[in-house]
Amino acid sequence: MLKTNKKGHLILETEATVPYELASGPSWHRFFEGFKEEKIYGVKCPKCKRVLVPARSFCSLCFEDTDEWVQVADEGEVKGWSLTNYHFFGMPTEPPFITALIRLDGADTDMDHLIGGFDLTDLDLVTKTLQMGARVKAVWKKEKKGCIMDIKHFKPV
C-alpha cells in the first residue's frame, strides 16, 4: 500500500510471513526431554573435559564428538545480566525483564536465560540483588512443552 511518510516521501508498505521448520535432531531432542523432567543436561568433551551446556553433539574447540551426557544443577551463579524495559519485537516476555548468563553448578559454560521472581521496577534493588556471583535457581513451569521456556526464569536464592 502506498503511503506518505513523515518526511513527505512516498513509501510502499508491505508485509509477508515466511514459514520455516527446523529439524531438532537428537541432541536438542534429548536436552529438552530432560526439561520435561526438570533436568538440565550438558555434555562432557572427551578431549578438553569441559562440560558444555546446553548439551550438543560435538565440542567446537576440539572438533570431537561428545557422547557423555552429564546432568548439571538447575542453579548456579550469575555471570552477567541486563535489564530491559522497553518493548521490542521478539522479546521473550513482557518488560521489564532481565536476561542473564548463568554458570550452572557443574558446567563450564554459561547458559542464557531470564532472571525474575522479584520486583524489577526498582533498579537499585536489582543491582543490589544481582551483584557479581549472585546465586540463582531455575523456576520450572508446571506445564512443560520440551522447550527453553519450560524454565520460567531463574530466581535469586
Binding site: Y20, L22, A23
Partner: protein, 380 residues
C-alpha cells in the same frame, strides 16, 4: 594467481531429508573432510563458507549460527552469500596469496527446512515492479524456455531427454536426492506448471552440505596422492529486469571466457573431459552448454540427441545427475565442483565416467534466467 591451489579432499551430504540437526550435519561433513586429509581442526588455516541468509534458512547472519560447526572457532574466515562456487574461489585466493597453507571451504543449504524455492526466489524481485507481477525463477524459466524453443528450434523432447539422462545418472550417485529411470514420455506428460516448462523438468529442493579442503601446491602434494588443481575461474552478472535482456544472450559466455583464459583453454569442447553444470530447469543444461562452448549456438538439442553428454559419451555432462537430481539451492554449485574433483581423482565410484578425466568444468547459477553465473576449471 600467484600460487597453485589444490583440492585435497571432498565430503558431501546425501540430498534426501533426514531428521538430523543442521549444525550436527555440517560438523560431520567438515570432520569427514579433515579426517580424509588426515589433519585436525587446529591445522586448518582459514575457513570460507558459501551459504545464504534468512530466506534460505530461517536465520539471519547464518554464518554466525554455523560458525563453530564449520570448524571456525577462533579462525580467520569469511562467508560468501549466494552462489557457493564463489566461496571455492575465495578460499583458493586466500591460499594463493600465501597467507594460508590450507583452507576449508564448504557450502550449506537445507532445502527441507525452507519454504518453497519459488517463494525464496520471489524475494529476489524488486518490490516496485517485478514482485507485483509475481516473478520467481520458475516463472522466468518458463519465458526463457519458450524463447529457446522458438528461436533455436530445440524441441521439448530434447529438453525432456536431459531429465531422463540426469535422473538416470543419479541412480549411480549415492549422494543424489532424486534418482529414477524415467522416459521422455513421463517427462512430457508431467504437469505443465509454467508452460512450456513441465513439473519433471524442475529441480527438487534438497538438503546439501559439501566441504572441501584446499591447500597450497606443496601441502596438496603431501596430503593426497591425487590433488585436483583449480586452474580457472570466472563469474559474471547480467541485467536485472527480464524485459531489459535478451534471454538467449547470457553472461555465462563472459564467465566462461574468464575461466578458460585463466586456465589457458582455447577449445573447451576438445579440451574438457566432462562438465558438471547447474540446470535447475532441464532446458538450461542445453542452453548453458552452448554458452560454455561445449557445442555451437543453437546446437544444444543436437548435442543431447548425439549421446555425447551421456555418462559414456565424449563429453559427459552431469554424470552425477546434476541439479535436477540434487538441488540444495545455495550449495549446488560447490557440489558440482566436488563431483568434478572426484571424477578427476578417479573416486566417483559407480558414476565414474569411462574416459580419463584430466580437465573438468563446474558451473553454478542463480537468479532469473541465469542472472549470475560462475565457472570453475579443475585439472588433474
Amino acid at each position: 594467481m600467484l600460487e597453485k591451489v589444490g583440492i585435497v579432499e571432498v565430503a558431501q551430504l546425501p540430498g534426501p531429508e533426514t531428521s538430523d540437526y543442521y549444525l550436527d550435519q555440517l560438523y560431520r561433513i567438515c570432520k569427514e573432510v579433515l579426517d580424509k586429509a588426515g589433519i585436525t581442526r587446529e591445522d586448518v588455516g582459514t575457513v570460507v563458507s558459501g551459504a545464504s541468509d534468512i530466506f534460505h534458512g530461517g536465520v539471519s547472519c547464518a554464518n554466525a549460527y554455523f560458525w563453530d560447526s564449520g570448524a571456525g572457532e577462533l579462525k580467520n574466515g569469511s562467508r560468501n552469500d549466494g552462489e557457493s562456487l564463489t566461496a571455492l574461489f575465495y578460499g583458493a585466493m586466500r591460499v594463493a596469496s600465501g597467507h594460508y597453507d590450507t583452507a576449508l571451504v564448504f557450502g550449506i543449504c537445507k532445502g527441507s527446512e525452507n519454504p518453497a524455492t519459488d517463494m525464496c526466489t520471489h524475494f529476489y524481485t524488486d518490490p516496485l515492479y517485478q514482485r507485483q507481477i509475481g516473478l520467481n525463477e520458475t516463472f522466468a524459466a518458463g519465458l526463457q524456455m519458450r524463447d529457446y524453443l522458438e528461436r533455436y528450434d530445440v524441441t521439448e523432447e530434447q529438453c525432456a531427454k536431459v531429465v531422463v539422462k540426469n535422473l538416470g545418472n543419479a541412480l549411480r550417485n549415492p549422494y543424489a536426492h532424486v534418482k529414477k529411470r524415467v522416459s521422455v514420455e513421463d517427462v512430457m506428460s508431467s504437469k505443465r506448471i509454467m508452460d512450456p516448462l513441465k513439473a519433471m523438468e524442475c529441480a527438487p529442493q534438497s538438503d546439501g552440505i559439501v566441504a572441501m579442503l584446499l591447500a597450497s601446491e606443496k601441502t596438496s602434494m603431501k596430503l593426497t596422492k591425487k590433488p585436483v588443481w583449480l586452474t580457472g575461474f570466472g563469474s559474471s552478472l547480467d541485467k536485472f529486469f527480464l524485459g531489459d535482456r535478451d534471454l538467449l544472450k547470457s553472461e555465462l559466455s563472459t564467465a566462461a571466457k574468464q575461466a578458460y583464459d585463466m586456465a589457458g583453454i582455447a577449445d573447451p569442447k576438445k579440451e574438457l573431459d566432462l562438465a558438471e553444470v547447474s540446470e535447475p530447469y532441464a532446458f538450461q543444461e542445453l542452453l548453458w552448454c552452448e554458452y560454455l562452448g561445449l557445442c555451437g549456438p543453437g546446437e544444444g538439442g543436437k548435442m543431447i540427441d548425439s549421446g555425447a553428454t551421456q555418462i559414456k559419451g565424449d563429453l559427459p555432462v552431469n554424470p552425477s545427475g546434476g541439479v535436477l537430481a540434487m538441488n540444495p539451492y545455495i550449495s549446488r554449485g560447490l557440489y558440482r565442483a566436488a563431483e568434478v574433483a572426484l571424477q578427476i581423482k578417479g573416486e566417483a565410484g559407480e558414476r565414474q565416467v569411462d574416459r580419463e578425466v584430466k580437465k573438468g568444468l563446474a558451473h553454478g547459477t542463480q537468479g532469473f534466467g541465469g542472472q549470475f553465473h560462475a565457472v570453475a576449471v579443475l585439472e588433474g
